[in-house]
Amino acid sequence: MIAITQFIDIDPRCIVGEKDGDMMDFTLSPEILQMKEAVRDFIAREVEPYAQQIEEEDQVPASILDASKALGLFGLSIPEAYGGLGLSMVDKCAIFEELGKTINGYTTILGAHNGIGSVGIVAFGTDAQKAYYLPKMATGEWIGAFALTEPEAGSNAAAIRTTAVRRGRRYILNGQKIYITNAPEAHVFTVMAVTDPSRGAKGITSFIVERDFPGFRVGKVEKKMGLHGSHSAQIFFENLEVPEENVLGKEGEGYVNALKILANGRAGLAARSLGSCEYLLDRSLQYARERHQFGKPIFEQQIIQHYLAEMATDIETLRWMMYRVAWLVDQGANVVKEAAMLKLYGSEVYQRVADKAVQIHGGLGYISDYPIERFYRDARITRIYEGTSEIQKNIIAAALNKTKN
């Protein structure tokens, strides 16, 4: 592992992937290719036909979620021993890339569950916690969510005010969270709360909270610009009782855990953005060839060709960046800086690609009966949630500043 940590920071050989025994190789195994195909078929058959309905009703039909559970889409991050697929990050991202090609609201449910909603328990959970929670999360019977953000603590997550006071063998939580994805559907929440106000970020602890613990309440479900079908809501803790065995990781390490969970989730998020970009390029290319103006396909206009070339180049760059970060995660490397770069770049690429896709489609790109407009709105959130683009730049700069001059 030591050799790897050295090589992520400076060794340019990582670009061609030469390192004794640790070749960077993104060739997908036959099983993963088979899974991608199974997911692609499933989306075409069970999900896409409902795109318009999901968008208008802001609700994914229960039958689609049930079918997704049956397919195994809720167990991507959970080890095989606990009933999941135990996929490596590279493999998980390959599946997420496929999922990115469909309705972003639907895939956000899966993304939040398989990402920030469950990886904390996988990474920091005790054997007992894992044995209790993961099997039901792997089947999707229990959906996961991650609750950090509060009204007064967004980018400055260390400023959370939710308190957790020990009383005997329990903690009593009081406070409020906002914008919590999957809150209306989830059963298991990874919650960050302050156990020692005198210690700042080091006084934050993470807890596993179940929806039916006394004192737990879900508030208003927000109306959003996009990601329809995925729900983000307020949650309230009113003298919420959490048994001490539900402390996740060590007391005082909640903030660090949260950052690690978010960093780990970034590759998956970028993989979904990548899939969406691939879909948009595909549609745009097809449309540019079919749409005739001035007696010829608009593809024959050089500026349209350049739009497409820029989209394709952005996508290619993102693809390699994403798989490299995923691979580094699989090597157990510390990827804080690289993951921040990926989160930043993936979001900006998605935004650019969606913008060009609308432009190539002209008026049709603005019409809601057609999917391009939806992707354009859905792209916007990627620059905000799981750490804004500005915050990613702060993280990158802070990492740069750590290197000796």
Binding site: P30, E31, Q34, M35, A38, V39, D41, F42, A70, L71, G72, L73, G75, L76, E80, G83, L85, I95
Partner: protein, 251 residues
């Protein structure tokens, strides 16, 4: 189980025109074999036992085998052929029958035909080779494990025929028998660890020459270009009716 080109594939011929061009083809499990496999899986779920998948063909067939294992077959036997062997349905049936004999069986299920060469002979010829009763084109199947008999519905032109036969037997599956399941992601993962026994064609010792040889293959004549009627809707409709009657002779 046979691997066949996806029916949406554009077929091209090899030079010499005795075989199709296999480069760039998307391969799938023969759809009728999927019905057969699904029926096997349901019988296993009902009665217990083991579903063994038997496939014959070149190395690429492994992909279809993995798919079948991911659907739920317990293990597989792959009779591995190479391009040098010239095959016909009779030879294929001999090989499959030999594997079946080695493996043992209560019931042998095949598709009613393969959608590539449409011969519909392999299932029946396996039955002949093994001296078993055969029930073809089955749309419903019930097994009575106590009496070791099967009861099957066969779809005939305008009628359903119900037949009974003792086990073991060969049954060939028709569309409508069931709705094949899709492999789940966990089952794709598990399939990786299931056993695939490879049997080299040469090791079967089937020296005989094929009884039927392909003389030549040719593509059907290209379809004439479509006629598009434009202009005044009323006039176009009248013209369409005239063409349908006078040229196409369909009304």
């Amino acid at each position: 189980m046979k691997q066949v080109p996806d029916t949406a594939t554009l077929i091209r011929l090899q030079p010499g025109a005795k075989q199709i061009e296999t480069q760039g083809i998307k391969w799938v499990i023969n759809p009728y074999d999927e019905f057969a496999l699904e029926e096997g899986l349901r019988l296993k779920e009902r009665w217990g036992g083991e579903v063994v998948l038997v496939a014959l063909g070149p190395a690429r067939v492994e992909e279809a085998i993995r798919q079948g294992l991911a659907m739920g077959a317990d293990r597989a036997v792959h009779v591995l052929t190479n391009d040098a062997v010239e095959l016909d349905v009779w030879l294929v049936a001999q090989a499959l029958a030999r594997v079946c004999r080695e493996e043992g069986y209560d019931l042998i299920l095949t598709g009613k035909q393969a959608v590539d060469d449409d011969q519909a002979q392999v299932g029946p010829l396996v039955a002949v080779a093994l001296g078993l009763p055969q029930v073809t084109v089955v749309v419903q199947l019930a097994i009575d494990a106590e009496s070791r008999r099967l009861r099957a519905e066969r779809e005939l032109e305008g009628a359903i025929e119900v037949v009974e036969a003792p086990l073991p037997a060969v049954v060939t599956a028709q569309r409508g028998l069931n709705e094949p399941r899709y492999p789940t992601l966990p089952n794709i993962m598990k399939a990786k660890r299931k056993e695939v026994r490879t049997v080299a064609w040469e090791s079967l010792g089937l020296e005989a020459a094929p009884l039927v040889r392909i003389e030549s293959l040719s593509l059907p004549p290209a379809r004439p270009a479509a006629k598009i009627l434009t202009g005044d809707p009323e006039e176009a409709a009248r013209e369409l009716a005239r063409l349908l009657r006078e040229e196409a002779h369909v009304i």
